[in-house]
Structures are given as structure tokens and as C-alpha cells.
């Protein structure tokens, strides 16, 4: 279960309609976020469930490299999902930035894509450029701080998952 957070979604602080469901307990009708392993195990049953479903991509993995879950594994289930929560284990671990772009640009996922875990002030703008639209922030963060951080770098050199084309292209629009 994630730590206490406030949800920043589409540029505004809001109540989170989603819950992180307990692995052992049957799902209610509330929009529920489950683990990838549960999704795989119960996919057939979950398809029949008439409520919003989300998944959290875990960052801590097993094995030598501890890479965590791979975004590619979500592909068969995207039609069932309205939300993907990407867990950032430490701010140093930037795998989630790639996962976000793959979801948006290759899988054309258009549901809610949120960052959870250790998410630093100075990463928000880059996360948004990668297609992340919701952030689980520490309770102390103000909307003003968030908006300021988002506005720090206005242009970009390269395209990503947002609508910035990038200077190399925009110079010749």
C-alpha cells in the first residue's frame, strides 16, 4: 500500500476516486488498483466485473537486476484498464519514464497514467512530458509549488508523449 499522498491530476489537486485494493480481499465496485500478478491470475473474472480497474506496475523486482515489472506485460490487458500507476522505487530509478512513453505512444493507452512512490519536485515536468497526467504527491506540496515546477522549462528540444514537437522540428513549422 502506498504512503499517504494527495492526488494531483490534470493540474489540479483532487480527491482520489481510486483505491489501492487489498490483494487478499474481493473487489468492490469502487475504482480499484490491483497488482499485475493479480491481474494476470484473475483476468477472466475481472473482465466480467462492471467497474473501473487499474493496475500498479511494481518497481521492486526479483532477481539480480531488480528491474521490476515490465510494461510490455500489460499489453494483453489494456482494454480492461482505465488506470496505470507506475511506481518509482527511488527517484534515481528512471525506468518509469520509459514505461509511460511506451504506454502512451506505442500502446495508445489513454486512461489515467499516474506516478506513485518517490517522485521529486524536479521530475514532475519530465514525467508529464512522458505522458504521466496524475501524481501522488506528499501532502505538504502546494498547488503553487506544483504549477511553478511545471512552468520551469517551457520549450523542448525533442518530442515525447506530450504535444511539444521539439525545437529541431518547430523551427521549421
Amino acid at each position: 500500500m502506498p504512503n499517504e499522498y494527495q492526488l494531483m491530476k490534470d493540474g489540479a489537486l483532487c480527491q482520489d476516486e481510486w483505491i489501492y485494493a487489498d490483494e487478499e480481499v474481493g473487489l468492490s465496485d469502487a475504482p480499484s488498483i490491483i497488482s499485475l500478478s493479480r491481474l494476470k491470475a484473475e483476468a477472466d473474472v475481472l473482465r466480467a466485473r462492471n467497474a473501473k480497474l487499474g493496475v500498479q506496475l511494481l518497481a521492486d523486482g526479483n532477481g539480480k537486476t531488480k528491474l521490476g515489472e515490465d510494461v510490455q506485460e500489460l499489453e494483453p490487458y489494456l482494454d480492461m484498464l482505465s488506470l496505470v500507476s507506475i511506481a518509482f522505487p527511488t527517484y534515481r530509478n528512471g525506468r518509469g519514464f520509459s514505461a509511460a512513453r511506451v504506454l502512451r505512444e506505442q500502446f495508445n493507452f489513454d486512461g489515467e497514467l499516474r506516478a506513485s512512490g518517490e517522485v521529486l519536485h524536479d521530475q514532475w515536468a519530465m514525467m508529464r512530458r512522458c505522458g504521466i497526467t496524475a501524481f501522488e504527491l506528499a501532502p505538504s506540496v502546494s498547488l503553487e509549488t506544483f504549477s511553478d515546477a511545471m512552468g520551469e522549462l517551457t520549450d523542448a528540444y525533442q518530442p515525447a508523449a506530450d504535444d511539444q514537437r521539439g525545437a529541431l522540428w518547430q523551427r521549421h513549422k
Binding site: 531488480k66 527517484y91 534515481r92 525506468r95 524536479d122 512522458c130 520551469e152 520549450d155 525533442q158 518547430q170
Partner: protein, 551 residues
């Protein structure tokens, strides 16, 4: 050379402002050091032994007189009157105060320079051939795609928190002066049978604790697909590179552990997806715009030889020696490529005072179409000097101790800052470079020995590139005492090789004698026209080992 447009100015300006805010939040306590550290690293600010260190980016080692003068100004105003040119074509300052760095960066921005991404787990400065646009036989000026790659990689939102640092180098010539095979990505500009220009891509080279020569991943990536290919490599690395152990997190380890074939498959698969979108095909108009900045200077029509030069050489033996060693043939008749040695006998390799920087700036402005290059061997270059004025340039350089005639010779040593400056070091490297230089001070003797690249690192991180020295020296710490391990036969060029350790390490007292033994072994065994590296490749390690450890 490239000139910023409003995009570039705005992005650099915003970054300076952003960093100023980050420094303020650190000083006020709002940011912990743990959270601040990656931010300051991404702005090139290290903490070293005695003070902070700031690394300023010199994209592909090219700068103008105005930019060089700003380095002199920074050295005076914010530092102790000198700077250090590095093995990645950048410049480092060893004594800036953190609370003054935002002001320093603001001043740098006025001459279109910055310290962005010169540290941290992101894509670093793209390095290239110091003789670009001056040497004969170049397929294309490698700085054009170096500039495109620089822009694409700057503030790249996906690749700012990589498993480790990432270094890219580009060469446009058969003689690789950019050491591309020792980089995370190395690019060789190629031309196919149809005359199209494309890129041969090597991945997974690097030195440090575990040196590797890069593996060729693509024979010929067409121009329009270069960035898509690079993005594919970066994404594969970002997603699958190890993050459990920072000593195993470079892409060279991933290539080694994954295997060449599987690595290529992963890259090709991702490349196909990215390329399909065509989002990264740079418009020809933009390529043309950037290329125009690297157009050839307006060379004069001159004869191939210069009577003025010939006469001056006849009159001044020191000058003749310097021309022979430091001036390289230029593609344009009547011109020469001047190498400025920052390795005076007994000096600190790669350091330059503010006065020296100003002198070089003046010469560049007057005589070299306002261009200076930095080499990864810690020297400088004036790329386009008329042979007629070589003597004038030499006299000016000589007046500032910048005319040591030792390019590529034994006293042209690469040395990392070592334990005199660096937090990571186990041993000092600069004093050893000085002692070797003094032992072989006689320039005629040096010239007779010929090309011999000694590279010294003060710790296993190999910033002195010792793995690819003809003679490599690694400083180690044994129970608090500095020892020096010798390796032989390394090379950073198109015939890249990692050196082999000779055996037991030497003490501070015996290391210089040991180097002399290696040199004598070579001169005893060499055949006509054999450089040290040629003789080593013919006879192998054993003859050197025998002499070094003979009792």
C-alpha cells in the same frame, strides 16, 4: 560553429533560473542534500577533495575566442585563476563556491555556454574529432550530427534518470581521434556505394573498472533514422540496464551480459517501433540550418608551401622542432593545424591559466577563423593557421609557455586530477606525470622515441584513460601507500585495444625507472619506422615483463 537561436537561449536561461531556485531551496534547507545532489550533478557541480568542482560543457570540443575569454574571466572571478581541460573535451574549475555558481552560469549563458548534463546519470557531452573540418579525408564534419545529438539529448524527459552516465562520441574520419570504441555509443560516419552518408553504430564501449571495446550494432543507419536508432538504444538501456549495483550499471555491462546478438535484437525491435512513427526524422531544413554553421571558412588560395615558413624553420631550431611535432597537415593548401600542448615539461597536464586562455583566444581570433578545439588528450588546437604566420603564432604561444613541442610524445601525458583534487582517487597522478616529463625532458630524445601515449589514472574509475594508453599507469592504494600498476599495449583509435597489466605494482620511488625500462626495451627492439605500439604488437608483453621484473 553553432550559434544559439531563441530556443537555445531560452532553454539555457530557464535552466539557470531553475538551478538558482534549487540552490536557494538547498541553502534554506527545503531540499535535503540527498534530493539536491542529482540536481547539482545535472548542472555539472561536483563535490571534490578541497572544494566544489564545476564542469563546463564544450560541445564536441569547439569554442570561439569570446567563449575562451569567458573561461578566463570565470577563472579570475569565481576561481583561482586557472582551469583544467578534460579527457571529454570539457573544462573544469576546481574552486567555485556553490552560492556563486548561479551567477557564474548566468555569465556563461551570455556566451552560449552552460554546464548542463556534464555530470549525473544522463547523456553527457557529445565528443568528436578535434581536427574536424581541417583534416583531409573527412567524409562529413562530425560536429553537425554531434550538434543534432546534443540538442536531442538535452533535457530529454525520458533519459534523465538512467542507470548510469552515458557518453556518445562521433568520428567522420578513418583515423579515429574521438575514441568512439571506448564510448557507450560510438558513431562512425560512413558512405555507401551510392554515395549516401549514414552511420555505423557501436555500443557498449567504456573504461572504468571493467573496460570494454564497443560492439558494432549497426552497419549503416541512414541519416534520417539516426535519432530514432539512438532513442531505441537509450530506451532499451533505460528499461533493462542494471540498477542493482552502480558498478554494473553501464551499458557496456548490459551488452556483455545480454550478448551481442540479443542486444542487437532488442535494439532493432525498439527501433522498428520508434521509426514507424517518424517522429524523430529531423527535417532537411533543420539539418541544412545546422550544417550551415559548420561551413568551411573562407580560406585563401595559397600555394602548398610557404617560403616564409621555410626560412623561419631554417633560422630557428626550436621553432622547426615545434613545427615538426605539433603542426599537422591541413586539407587546404597553405594552411596547417596547430596543436597547443598543455603539457609543459614538469607542468600540470591540461591546466591553463587565465592569461594563457586569453593568449589562445587572441590567436584564434586573429589567425584561426575564431575557432579553438579541445582534445580528449587535454590539449588545444588552432585548426586553421596559414603556414605564413606559423612563426608569429609560435612566438606568441612560446611567450606563454604554450609551445612545448611534444604532441603525442612521451611527455604529452594524460593524467586525471588524482588524489591532489579528486574525492574518488586512491593515488596522485599529476606528480607522476611531472616526473616522467622531467625524466624525458630532452625534446630531441622524445622525438627519437616517437609516438608514445602514456595515460595515468589515480583510481579504477579510469578518468585518465589508462586502459587505452600505450603505457597505462593506474595508481592504487596499498595500506595507505601509493603504488603504480603498469599496463602496456592499449590504444584508443580505430585499432582500439585494452592494455595488459605487466605484473606487480611499483612504488613511487621505482615507477619512473620502470617507465624508462619499458622505453629502453622498446628502443632496443624496434625495427625501422616502428612506433612503440607497433613494436609491442609485434613482440608482445614478455620482453617488457622480463626486463621490468629482472632482479
Amino acid at each position: 560553429m553553432y550559434r544559439y537561436d531563441e530556443f537555445d537561449h531560452q532553454l539555457v536561461g530557464e535552466r539557470v533560473k531553475q538551478f538558482r531556485g534549487q540552490v536557494e531551496r538547498r541553502v534554506s534547507g527545503e531540499l535535503t542534500e540527498d534530493a539536491f545532489k542529482p540536481l547539482r550533478l545535472m548542472n555539472g557541480v561536483y563535490l571534490q577533495l578541497h572544494a566544489y568542482m564545476l564542469r563546463v560543457a564544450i560541445p564536441y570540443g569547439t569554442l570561439s575566442s569570446k567563449q575562451m575569454r569567458m573561461q578566463a574571466h570565470i577563472a579570475r572571478k569565481y576561481d583561482r585563476g586557472y582551469g583544467h581541460f578534460t579527457t571529454r573535451q570539457n573544462i573544469q574549475f576546481n574552486w567555485p563556491a556553490l552560492d556563486k555558481i548561479p551567477d557564474l552560469l548566468e555569465e556563461l549563458a551570455t556566451v552560449e555556454m552552460h554546464a548542463i548534463q556534464t555530470s549525473g546519470n544522463c547523456i553527457r557531452n557529445v565528443t568528436s574529432d578535434q581536427y574536424a573540418a581541417a583534416i583531409d579525408g573527412e567524409i562529413e564534419d562530425p560536429r553537425i550530427i554531434s550538434e543534432i545529438i546534443r540538442q536531442w539529448s538535452t533535457f530529454h524527459p525520458e533519459f534523465t534518470y538512467l542507470p548510469r552516465k552515458f557518453k556518445i562520441a562521433v568520428t567522420g574520419h578513418d583515423n579515429d581521434r574521438a575514441a568512439i570504441k571506448l564510448h557507450d555509443i560510438g558513431i562512425v560516419i560512413k558512405q555507401n556505394e551510392l554515395g549516401d552518408v549514414g552511420y555505423e553504430i557501436h555500443v557498449g564501449g567504456g573504461q572504468g573498472r571493467t573496460p570494454f571495446i564497443a560492439k558494432k550494432m549497426a552497419d549503416f543507419v541512414p541519416k534520417a533514422q539516426l535519432l530514432a536508432y539512438l532513442e531505441a538504444v537509450m530506451r532499451v538501456y533505460n528499461m533493462l540496464g542494471r540498477r542493482d549495483n552502480s558498478y554494473k550499471a553501464r551499458i557496456k555491462i548490459m551488452v556483455h551480459e545480454t550478448g551481442e546478438v540479443e542486444m542487437r535484437r532488442l535494439i532493432e525491435a525498439e527501433f522498428a517501433k520508434i521509426d514507424a512513427s517518424q517522429m524523430l526524422a529531423v527535417p532537411q531544413a533543420e539539418i541544412d540550418r545546422i550544417s550551415a554553421y559548420f561551413a568551411s571558412p573562407e580560406f585563401e588560395n595559397l600555394p602548398a608551401t610557404s617560403a616564409t615558413l621555410d626560412a623561419a624553420q631554417a633560422q630557428d631550431a626550436d621553432f622547426a622542432r615545434w613545427v615538426r611535432a605539433n603542426v599537422v597537415a591541413h586539407k587546404q593548401h597553405g594552411y596547417g593545424i596547430v596543436n597547443i600542448s598543455l603539457k609543459p615539461i614538469g607542468g600540470v597536464p591540461g591546466d591553463a591559466t587565465d592569461v594563457q586562455m586569453e593568449a589562445v583566444a587572441d590567436l584564434a581570433e586573429r589567425y584561426s577563423f575564431d575557432e579553438i578545439r579541445v582534445t580528449h588528450e587535454q590539449n588545444l588546437v588552432l585548426p586553421h593557421i596559414r603556414l605564413d604566420v606559423l612563426k608569429t603564432v609560435y612566438d606568441a604561444l612560446n611567450a606563454h609557455e604554450l609551445a612545448t613541442a611534444n604532441l603525442g610524445l612521451i611527455s604529452d601525458t594524460i593524467a586525471c586530477p588524482g588524489l591532489d583534487y579528486c574525492n574518488l582517487a586512491n593515488a596522485r597522478s599529476i606528480p607522476l606525470a611531472q616526473e616522467i616529463s622531467e625524466r624525458f625532458a630532452d625534446l630531441d630524445q622524445q622525438y627519437d622515441i616517437g609516438e608514445l601515449k602514456i595515460k595515468i589514472s589515480g583510481c579504477i574509475n579510469a578518468c585518465g584513460h589508462h586502459h587505452v594508453g600505450h603505457i597505462g599507469i593506474l595508481g592504487v592504494d596499498k595500506k595507505g601507500t601509493e603504488f603504480y600498476q603498469i599496463s602496456l599495449g592499449g590504444s584508443a583509435d580505430e585499432n582500439a585495444s585494452i592494455g595488459t597489466i605487466t605484473g606487480r605494482a611499483f612504488t613511487e620511488e621505482t615507477i619512473v625507472d620502470a617507465i624508462e625500462t619499458v622505453v629502453t626495451t622498446y628502443t632496443d627492439m624496434r625495427q625501422t619506422d616502428e612506433r612503440f605500439i607497433d613494436t609491442y604488437r609485434r613482440v608482445g608483453l614478455d620482453p617488457f615483463k622480463e626486463r621490468l621484473y629482472a632482479e
